[in-house]
Symmetry: C2
Subunit: 325 residues, 2 copies
């Protein structure tokens, strides 16, 4: 039996969508047990086989400061994390605030041996529909070369076993292609990555090439990665808004819009960063999966499926091995 702890309370839409997702998930997977944390009176429907309700009276709201987490040991989020850390479950899923969830993991879950810094990974849509993993996207304000190297090793394992990419192409986000570009940490990281035969290092990648889909994993410090992610997101949002306005700007374009809207809506969906889906946390001893704060049951279900696949494929175990090599 694979066991997941599920934080039922921290999302914007309340516990009902989590309840719905849990019931359908259990039905779809007969090798899973769920440990659901939250207020039992809201979880009545989960009194079924293979679901355990773990009472947690406190809730960490979406807008909570990340420091409040420390005082919220009876929250559904922290309890779900602790269950995984203590080995009661094999992984944890929440749709609470990314910052609070990450802080909960930082405070209440052990990191993989040899990992100094955990990180957040996001998958960005690309021109060729493959998508590209970007990590760290903001867990850290600064990273040294060894930490960047660790991110590459973890990303390599994830790309292989979770995204089915045979020989993942890994690049370092930098301000030019030459190995001497960037500050000392990036120059040093370039050397570490170049000399590591366990990965397929492609060299530096610049911001303008992130979305062209030619690499599978982009390694970056949390500061630059956060800015990169949000610049891509902001530009996509701005352009989509302007595109819509420009289609509504004249009678002629309005007529045309009737013909083109299906194609353009598909594009809009693809570059909707809300659907890019939060960020996965890496570097902990158990999979820590974040579903969207405004997740519907389907999105929450996807997050559970991701955690389940990570457990089933022992991705964290393989990261451990990858880090030792």
């Amino acid at each position: 039996m694979y066991k997941l702890s599920i934080d039922a309370m921290s999302g914007d839409l309340g516990s009902s969508i989590v309840v719905e997702a849990c019931l359908s998930f259990i039905k779809a997977h007969d090798d899973v047990e769920l440990y659901v944390t939250g207020k039992s009176e809201e979880l009545e429907k989960l009194k079924v086989e293979r679901i355990h309700i773990i009472e947690a009276r406190d809730t960490i709201p979406m807008d909570a400061g990340i420091m409040s987490v420390r005082r919220k040991k009876d929250s559904s989020m922290v309890k779900a994390v602790v269950l995984a850390n203590e080995g009661e479950t094999d992984g944890v899923v929440s749709c609470g605030s990314t910052g609070a969830f990450y802080t909960s993991a930082m405070l209440f879950m052990k990191r993989l041996e040899g990992i100094e810094k955990s990180c957040l990974m996001a998958i960005l849509p690309t021109y060729n529909e493959k998508g590209v993993m970007l990590m760290d996207v903001g867990a850290n304000a600064q990273n040294n070369a060894e930490q960047l190297h660790d991110f590459a090793l973890m990303g390599n394992v994830y790309a292989k076993y979770m995204r089915g990419i045979n020989d993942p192409k890994i690049a370092l986000l930098n301000i030019g292609s030459e190995s001497k570009k960037g500050d000392e940490a990036h120059q040093e990281a370039y050397k570490l990555l170049e000399n590591d035969e366990s990965i397929h290092f492609m060299g530096n990648i610049e911001g303008r090439d992130i979305l062209n889909g030619e690499v599978d994993v982009i390694v970056t410090d949390g500061f630059s990665g956060n800015i990169a992610l949000k610049c891509c997101e902001g530009t996509a949002t701005t352009l989509m808004k302007l595109m819509k306005e420009s289609l509504m700007s004249s009678l002629k374009s309005k007529i045309g819009a009737l013909f083109v809207k299906d194609s353009l809506y598909a594009l809009k969906d693809r570059f909707d960063y809300k659907s890019v889906g939060g960020a996965l946390m890496m570097g902990f001893v158990k999979p820590v999966v974040k579903a969207h704060g405004a997740s519907d049951a389907k999105a929450f279900n996807n997050a559970m499926e991701l955690a389940y696949q990570m457990v089933k494929n022992d991705v964290v175990g393989k990261m451990k091995e990858g880090l030792k090599e």
Copy 2:
């Protein structure tokens, strides 16, 4: 008489467009003298009043490594820079490679007193058509808090006197809005900016808000700024390409495209980062203005106009004062 040195040789399209631009510029401005560096046999047409031809036998090609600049003292680019540095002219314009031109200025032009690091400024298109200044976009691989503060002061003066913004809104690019976000340099820079009453500091800005046009100047270290600029550029390019493809994807959308293409082309032009127009160099004792490598005469003319306005408004002098306050 305002005097500008003009590098006639370093652009992708050769000297002829520069010659054309110089002739029309002289005609439009009767208070300007031009000192044009290059091979005199290519500059025959410039033998007119108020234009001086300065022989320079060497050329720095667009793809030259920036280190080759050191050995190219007889190049049109270096000669144009030296003329300005030595006070023969009041500013310099080139359409050569940004890296080589910046390096020429670094090597052969003095910096403003008190400025540790010069920087590159780019103006990005925004949602509200105002545009936003981003600086540094890649001259430096790393910047400390004082340098970020200097960028803000120079940006403030430029926004006031060149963009006519009365009380420029200045923000610091960071990974969150709170003052404690980011690494030490950014936290320290926040304090310096917050406590400086000579500027209108708006706090931190995140990557996703760069293009919404709510601030006038965004201050950033060269590493993050380069990544931010190129991520915005890359996302815009990718989306425009996909938009075009999606309009050509079916008969129905092709019909619609006939009606909407004018509106969408206008949008494409606005977010064409090729037309965003290179980068302006700040922190030197004279205006250093880069025109596009693939500039046509009109683009080159615009760059000359920018240098002329900077000289006429004594923007560098005002930066000097701004830095003293």
